[in-house]
Amino acid sequence: MSRPGNRIEPEASEAQEEAQRWERETRAPFVASHPERREAFVTQALKWPIQPLYTPADLDASGFDYARDLGYPGEYPYTRGTQPNGHRSSLWTMSQVTGFGKGEDWARRARYMLEQGLQGLILEHDLPTTNGYDSDNPLVEGEVGRAGLAVDSLEDLERAFDLPFERLKYLMSVCNAPQPVNLAMIIAALEKKGVDPRRFVVHIVNGILIEYTCVGRYIFPPVHGLRIATDCIEYIIRNHPNWAPISIISAQLQPAKANPVQELAFSMAIAMAYIDATLARGLPIDTIAPYFHFVVNVDMDFFEGICKLRAYRKVWARLMQERYGAKLPAALKIRMMTSPTTIALTLQQPLNNIGRLAIMATACALGGAGEAMTTPLHDEAHSLPAEEAIRVGAALQHIVAHETGVADTIDPLAGSYYVESLTKQIETAAMAEIDKIQAMGGALKAIETGYFQRALGREQYERNRDIEEGRRKWVGVNHLVVPGEKRQIEIFRADGRVEEEQVARLRELRARRDPEAVAQALEAVREAARTGANLVSPCLAAVKVYATHGELCDAMREVFGVHTPDSQLTGV
């Protein structure tokens, strides 16, 4: 067993000598007569060279030390998992994304999903809501209720929350830029439904910094975006301590083609920006850190995915301990949801996607699925999910969990020479990238200068070129193509009536509510925006008198201004 000091010894270890002998005597002569099928073998996203064989010599060369690099499950540095018993005591929570139409449409679909055995739901709002506009704003014509739930006022969420809450373990909500408004609406709607907030977990994603980095659903300039996100974090920690105030959705960086090192480093740097801002509110690191939650995608490169998940746990633990001096285990243990990525799925031959999803979900489980796993659906690339696809998607996680045995022992790939080498390489490269970002002033600066955006833009271009030029094979796209395959794209066109009804409801509400109470409530929001007081409380008061989502966002626009980045700052 190697000790940390061993790696600096000049002589090759016995293991290295043996590996070299095998290469010389056995492999090289074989390859001479059986040339390799590729010029170079590299990992899919990072394009790191892959050796033909990994042996104990590779672990020795990287200075691998079991106790320091892996440890035991539930113990620092958590490489082998944050749970002491892996998935043997309980499986991950299985969930899927949903969200479209009016409140009652969403509730109907959500009830169906709960009946299929799902315990967590993700509430996606439509683009007008996410971008801070009411349904009757001329800018959003044609978009109301199309890509998610339309929320103009508290009444819309009251309708959406017609759910068997006793079956639901958690509700995750993605509505980043107008977060204080969204949070206020959720709190108020649960209150109206009489749901005990202590028995139920609301995850707000609150991920505005990733919106500036690649997703684009921002409203205010980044510095104000960070401030209002911090308001929500602080409010939840102080008022709903069992909820989750922040998710770093690396799973948005990854579809923007972040490679595993960028994904890990950018998301950690972004987490550090929120942590620094929350520390400045007078909360200690051991209180703040346990609230951070990550959603991490796995792509088709099985080992990049598995090793990335293992590296995530270790890098978080190291940052919290080494950089912030966190002491509590809860602060050092990353909370994570994993997911197969949608960008591996193809429009062509969509049934192939079921195979891809099964492989990626297996990689998630092998890497340590985290508290929850969410799976996209095989038909997502070309249509709005059909109910059959939802059933297949739910079954898929059960197949991985119950039929393969991958969840029956903890961190089963630990000790694999390849897995440990790649895990360590990813960790080392990510730590170096985090240091680089911190040296340029942290994630906020990296966004304000366009560093993240341009880095992702280059990855997007290169990945596309690799596929177009055939360096990367993708079944159905540039390999095993079915000639003349009809590519049916079914886009979900907004049912014009949804928009009409939503607008009619909104106008009717505006006519019947108390205009003076609304005006006063909006002024209180402007005041808080100006003074730096926490925005959640005045937003909560305002949604209760039925100030609308768009009105509240406008009140903040008046104070903060809007974000209008150019080409350099978008990476386009």
Partner: protein, 141 residues
Amino acid sequence: MAAQRPLRVLLAKLGMDTHTVGITVVAHALREAGMEVIFTGLKQTPEAVASAAIQEDVDVVGISTLSAGHTRSLPRLARLLREQGAQDKLLVAGGVIPEEDVPLLEEAGYARIFTMGTDTREIVAYLVQWHRSQRDREPAA
């Protein structure tokens, strides 16, 4: 002289659609091919894109759309450009556009619709070809 300068392309996104991977890949490919690319930023109105196209004196206006709003906003942009005397600009669009919507957009004035999965080399070749045909049409200086 317009014929001597590199092709100037304005790339834009309309409405609430903020998916930028496609437009980013296209922007990089066009720049790589020597074209000048200007990006309007996100959440633009057809009015703002039309006036940017005229102010920036571009040859080509390319719209990326991954949202169902294209049947309304794209024809509107074409009409605005025509009304402002900018009908000489080449209009193209790409993204998630179902086949059945292509005729409507072509009729509205879009010379070419690049549907999902179009090879960027095909887009570059098309624009280069168009640029050449424009030069041939102009009288020699």
